[in-house]
């Protein structure tokens, strides 16, 4: 089973993030860039499927030069090869444009599964699995919290508000996973040393056959008009459980008129 995992570099989830007032985009220069935390679950799931069923795992990202660091991390976790779609023309692409560019890049690879996480911690649109499935013309299995692979049949537990649905489809397909599906591994030192020797290919927009008129900030289908900073969080109230924690919590919620 050959798997392409999509990963995205985002501003450190733990750091305080600022928006650049001049163009309403995230000020990426001021914070560390890391792999979108949820993408680590996608990488882990791909590695697990590979370990159980064989095949090859390729990570693909669209992003600036510094995204190479994140690709190395994926390689050090055990991924076989990495593809980096990087081109100035792609800067500022919206979700719809990105899905077009990524689908073009995926088209240059052979795959049974395109695996990605439900959303990234910076944009938080949660639409990429569906957009990609549509572009690639393959079924979509989304919000998976458990995946079983049996030959070309993939069965998932799709997380819902009330529990889960069991959904099944045949490869090739797009698989979107949620957090908690697994516990992502940390790269081992051996993995870190091996990562440098693994293939890392760079694709330009032209290499992937992307029409540059259809991507980039100028023709983006959505844009941020304005923003307001979130109000600072007030100090929380700590409820210490001395045997009566439940009652105290209920009292607190009642006082807030929540129950």
């Amino acid at each position: 089973m050959n798997i392409v995992v999509l990963v995205k570099q985002v501003p450190d989830t733990w750091a305080e993030k600022k928006l650049d007032p001049s163009d309403s985009t995230v000020d990426r220069a001021s914070v560390d860039a890391v792999m979108n935390e949820m993408d680590e679950y996608a990488v882990e799931e791909a590695l697990k499927i590979k370990e159980a069923h064989g095949g090859e795992v390729t990570v693909l990202t669209m992003g600036p030069n510094r995204a190479v660091e994140m690709l190395r991390k994926a390689l050090s976790m055990g991924v076989d090869k990495a593809v980096h779609l990087v081109d100035d023309a792609l800067e500022g692409s919206c979700a719809i444009q990105s899905s077009y560019a990524l689908a073009q890049a995926i088209g240059t690879l052979s795959y049974d599964l395109v695996l990605l996480s439900a959303e990234s911690s910076d944009a938080r649109m949660g639409v990429m699995p569906a957009l990609l499935a549509e572009r690639l013309g393959v079924p979509q299995l989304s919000d998976a919290r458990k995946v079983d692979v049996d030959g070309s049949k993939v069965v998932i537990e799709r997380m819902t508000d009330y529990g889960h649905d069991k959904v099944e489809a045949s490869t090739p397909l797009v698989l979107g996973v949620v957090e908690k599906i697994n516990e992502p591994r940390y790269p081992s030192f051996k993995g870190i040393m091996a990562a440098k020797k693994k293939p890392l290919t760079t694709l330009t927009a032209a290499d992937a056959g992307i029409d540059t008129g259809r991507v980039g900030l100028a023709t983006a289908t959505s844009s941020v008009e304005s923003f307001t900073a979130a109000p600072p969080r007030a100090a929380g109230q700590v409820v210490k459980d001395e045997g009566d924690g439940g009652v105290k919590l209920a009292d607190f919620f009642a006082a807030q008129k929540l129950i």
Partner: protein
């Protein structure tokens, strides 16, 4: 690192940067320390619980195998890689960091440095995977700095060592996963009448091996420290580690390396004090503005950063010499001495920056303060480091 590259350039470049791989290792351990270790630190400290689950995860990441070749289950890295990992762990929790430091440099390293091929094959795969822990017992109730005053005795008869005696404050010696305790023991008398001291491997638990209950310590609460008693323990003659009569000398060379690792640990603690103080000084208000805007506090934090940075350079430099195979005894002693005193000073100052909250155990700086003092004592006291430096200077 630190490679003075005498290439095309006439005068050469001094390079203090980490390689991509070193940086990736540092970041990986930093992330693990921040997201897995730090959230548990307060509870482990309060309950004085050994961090079994964290040790298991560190084993999976290969941290216990960092400086050992792959043929013994190691990761094929080096001692500097180990130091980077220890520094990052100590930024979150000194108890976890010392568990790794002692497990590798006192538990496994003596077997790797002085063991026969058979001993290496028997012990290293288990120790380098973190599945089991090894400990080293040198200190006795009657003497730590004067390690030559060893009273534990081992007598060779009928192909077996018969061991009797006791050891004090032995790290990692009483956990559920401890399987090896290497001890120094008097095995005879030298021609000049001095004690002949040798190292012997004791697979534990075993008949006659007694472990004390946990002592009540000021800090390092989640680290395992025990007193040990040996009552007629017998082990095969082949359990001698290294040459007979070289036990003390061999152990001193292990301590030279270990000092660089302890220095890395101290740097991690010193840096954690900067991190915590910085956060607090920006947030805490007094007389209408953040306390960090008062020069008295800002300068304190600047001095803390100065010590952490300088101490880091000291251990990098010592590790660099060690890995090049150059003499590094003085540099290791300087690194250990400077960084441990920096850690204690930074912890005291960080507590001061936090005011009354710094005295509350729910703030990490309070734990750092309690954890720092041992750094001036273990693996050679500050006085011993000064003796070593002076001796290297020829006085």
């Amino acid at each position: 690192m630190l490679a003075a590259a005498f290439g095309e350039e006439e005068f050469g470049v001094l390079d203090f940067r980490l390689s991509d791989e070193q940086e990736m290792l540092r970041k990986t351990v930093e992330h693990f320390a921040r997201t897995v270790v730090a959230p548990q630190a307060e509870e482990l400290d309060e309950k004085e619980e050994f961090p079994y689950d964290i040790v298991r995860q560190m084993g999976e990441m290969g941290l216990f195998g960092l400086p050992f070749p792959e043929e013994y289950g190691g990761m094929g890295g080096d001692y500097f890689a180990l130091c980077l990992a220890i520094e990052e762990l100590a930024r979150a929790d000194s108890s976890v960091a010392i568990t790794l430091e002692a497990g590798v440099s006192l538990g496994a390293m003596p077997v790797y440095r002085f063991g026969t091929e058979e001993q290496r094959r028997e012990w290293l795969p288990r120790l380098t995977s973190g599945e089991t822990l090894g400990a080293f017992g040198l200190t006795e109730p009657g003497g730590g700095s004067d390690a030559g005053a060893t009273r534990t005795r081992a007598v060779l008869a009928d192909g077996h060592w018969l061991i009797n005696g006791s050891k004090a404050f032995i790290t990692n010696s009483g956990t559920d996963i401890t399987r090896l305790v290497t001890v120094t023991a008097v095995t005879g008398e030298k021609a000049n009448g001095a004690k002949e001291i040798s190292s012997i491997l004791i697979p534990v638990p075993c008949e006659g091996f007694r472990v004390s209950s946990k002592p009540s310590k000021v800090g390092w609460h989640a680290s395992d420290t025990r007193d040990l008693a040996f009552e007629d323990i017998t082990v095969p003659a082949e359990n001698l580690l290294g040459e007979r009569g070289r036990g003390y000398a061999n152990f001193l060379s292990i301590l030279d390396e270990g000092r660089i690792a302890i220095s890395a640990l101290a740097v991690g603690l010193a840096q954690a004090c900067v991190d915590e103080s910085l956060r607090y000084a920006k947030d805490r208000q007094a007389f209408g503005k953040p306390i960090g805007e008062y020069q008295a506090i800002a300068f304190k934090i600047a001095d803390m950063e100065l010590r952490a940075h300088t101490a880091r350079l000291a251990y990098y430099a010592a590790a660099d010499r060690m890995l090049r195979g150059e003499p590094f005894k003085k540099q290791a002693a300087i690194a250990k001495l400077y960084s441990s005193e920096s850690a204690v000073t930074n912890a005291r100052e960080a507590t001061q920056v936090h005011g009354g909250y710094g005295f509350m155990n729910e703030y990490p700086v309070a734990r750092h303060w309690r954890d720092s003092k041992i750094l001036e004592i273990g693996e050679g006291t500050s006085e011993v480091q000064r003796m070593l430096i002076a001796r290297e200077l020829g006085i």
